[in-house]
């Protein structure tokens, strides 16, 4: 099965079809918590991607060596190590960002997206594929976080990435940068994306039914012509 998938597809599937946030509903905590602004969202997604890629890399290398009983403990230990690395580097080099993302950097450890990809993919595939998959998922995560962060920032402050977008008269909706706004925005976004794919599916089915009807109508008229 997996061999048929080209390397490019391994990467692309994470962007939309299996988007970790909108389709798989994984890693919700950071998604909701840090997306008060697009900048935070991007930073969080990059940090997550870093951890995801490197732990996928390590896990896929040592996958045959880990006994299944301590599998989870071992994976999560590896993940935690990389997260600590990110945390320390951020604190040392980007103190402002580290402050903004607050306590959510350590929570990357328990982002089920990462552990999930280890279990589902990295532990069963070659190093190259694992990294590609991780990169794809990470990018998908980035897309989702950016969208969410940008939307919330736009409505909540009238700006995106610090640039004023809304006209001056616009009164920011504070709720968008509150917890409630995070839930509402993500819920609505998911709903709208779903309704888009739902609509496509319905259209596909309608064409099938229509074809079936047409074919049937032809079939019914034929014998009449013969008579």
């Amino acid at each position: 099965m997996a061999n048929k998938v080209t390397a490019a597809k391994e990467f692309i599937k994470g962007l939309w079809d299996q988007n970790p946030v909108f389709k798989q509903v994984l890693g919700m905590c950071p998604v909701l918590a840090v997306t008060v602004s697009a900048e935070n969202g991007i930073a969080m997604a990059l940090a997550t991607t870093f951890v995801l890629v490197f732990s996928s890399f390590v896990v896929s290398i040592i996958k045959n060596w880990i006994p299944s009983q301590v599998r989870i403990a071992a994976y999560i230990l590896i993940i935690a190590t990389f997260v600590t690395i990110v945390d320390l580097v951020m604190k040392a080099q980007f103190p402002a960002l580290s402050k903004a993302l607050g306590p959510f950097i350590p929570l990357i450890i328990v982002n089920c997206l990462i552990l999930g990809r280890q279990e589902a993919f990295a532990s069963k595939n070659s190093v190259g594929r694992a990294v590609l998959d991780a990169l794809g998922m990470g990018t998908g995560f980035l897309i989702a976080l950016f969208l969410l962060g940008a939307t919330r920032e736009l409505f909540g402050t009238g700006m995106i990435l610090g640039f004023q977008i809304m006209p001056e008269v616009y009164e920011p909706w504070l709720i968008m940068i509150l917890p409630a706004g995070a839930f509402l925005t993500l819920g609505l976004m998911m709903g709208f994306f779903n309704s888009y794919s739902e609509k496509k599916k319905a259209e596909e089915r309608n064409t099938i039914v229509e074809k079936y009807r047409q074919a049937k109508r032809q079939a019914e008229t034929k014998p009449l012509e013969a008579n």
Binding site: A73, C112, A215
Partner: protein, 275 residues
């Protein structure tokens, strides 16, 4: 090598050792025997324990699959690969039995069947309609046209046509039989694909009544039964086909006055190409 480094590695090494030991011990002492299938299915799952399937984690989902309470494709995270892997373990695809198709055994749509002199008022679901004097049509046995079967189809393989009767899109049908279960009048029957002769009626009324209530009813005249060498048997004013003995060539299809008995493979709409 400084002291901090040594303390760090020894602490982590020690903790790792300690918990690995604990788990190893637990694994040995606390192992519980269970259906090996559960383990296998669990292996095939992503193991993210995200709960997206609505179950309490991957293991619980595996238990439910093995017990038949969850569908093999119930894991939204694993996608198709996982579904196939699980299906293979569960042996769902195995088995070469003939595919069943639902056959709608009523052709008394809005144009053919006679309505009662009073209008039905209430919910338009077949099962609910059936409770109130058997529905709006005079024929007690016919299709109610409420579309319960269409609703029940999990694969969107059915639709209600202009005449108010359900139709099956065979290409989309998986033969699960949900539609047949949903029909309160038992009009939809599941038949192997090889069956090609059907009496498209379920009416048991006497000839006069059945003629009155529907243009395309089986009126129980019995012509088909007399010519078929036991391939069709009359039961209470209705022709019942005996699929193990029937010889389609003996049935005088053109003699049936209402066209209730028909042969499907003679219909030209067999080769509908949907692609």
């Amino acid at each position: 090598m400084d002291l901090g480094f040594i303390i760090a590695i020894s602490t982590m090494g020690g903790l790792g050792f300690l918990f690995a030991g604990g788990l190893a011990l637990a694994d040995r002492k606390l192992r519980v025997e269970e259906n090996p299938l559960i383990g296998k299915v669990n292996e095939a799952l992503p193991g993210a324990n995200c709960g997206a399937c609505g179950k309490a984690g991957c293991y619980d989902f595996a238990v439910n699959v093995v017990e038949g309470k969850a569908k093999v494709n119930g894991c939204p995270v694993g996608g198709e690969e996982t579904a196939q892997a699980v299906a293979t373990i569960m042996g769902v695809d195995a088995g070469a039995s003939e595919k069943l198709l639902p056959i709608v055994l009523c052709r008394g749509g809005n144009a053919e069947a006679v309505k009662k002199m009073a209008d039905y008022y209430g919910p338009l679901s077949c099962s609910a309609m059936d409770l109130v004097s058997g529905g709006e049509k005079m024929c007690y046995y016919g299709c109610l046209g409420g579309g319960d079967c269409v609703e029940a189809c999990p694969f969107n393989a059915m639709f209600m046509n202009e005449d108010g009767l359900p139709e099956v899109i065979e290409e989309l049908c998986t033969g699960c039989g949900m539609c047949a279960q949903a029909c309160p009048k038992d009009i939809i029957e599941m038949h192997p694909e090889s069956h090609n002769v059907f009496v498209y009626c379920k009416n048991h009324d006497d000839p006069k009544t059945s003629k009155d209530v529907c243009k395309v009813a089986c009126i129980g005249c019995g012509i088909c039964a007399r010519k078929s060498d036991g391939g069709v048997v009359m039961d209470n004013n209705l022709g019942i086909i005996q699929y193990d003995v029937i010889d389609p060539d003996k049935i005088p299809f053109d003699k049936c006055r209402t066209g209730a008995i028909q042969r499907t493979d003679s219909k030209p709409d067999q080769d509908i190409n949907l692609n």
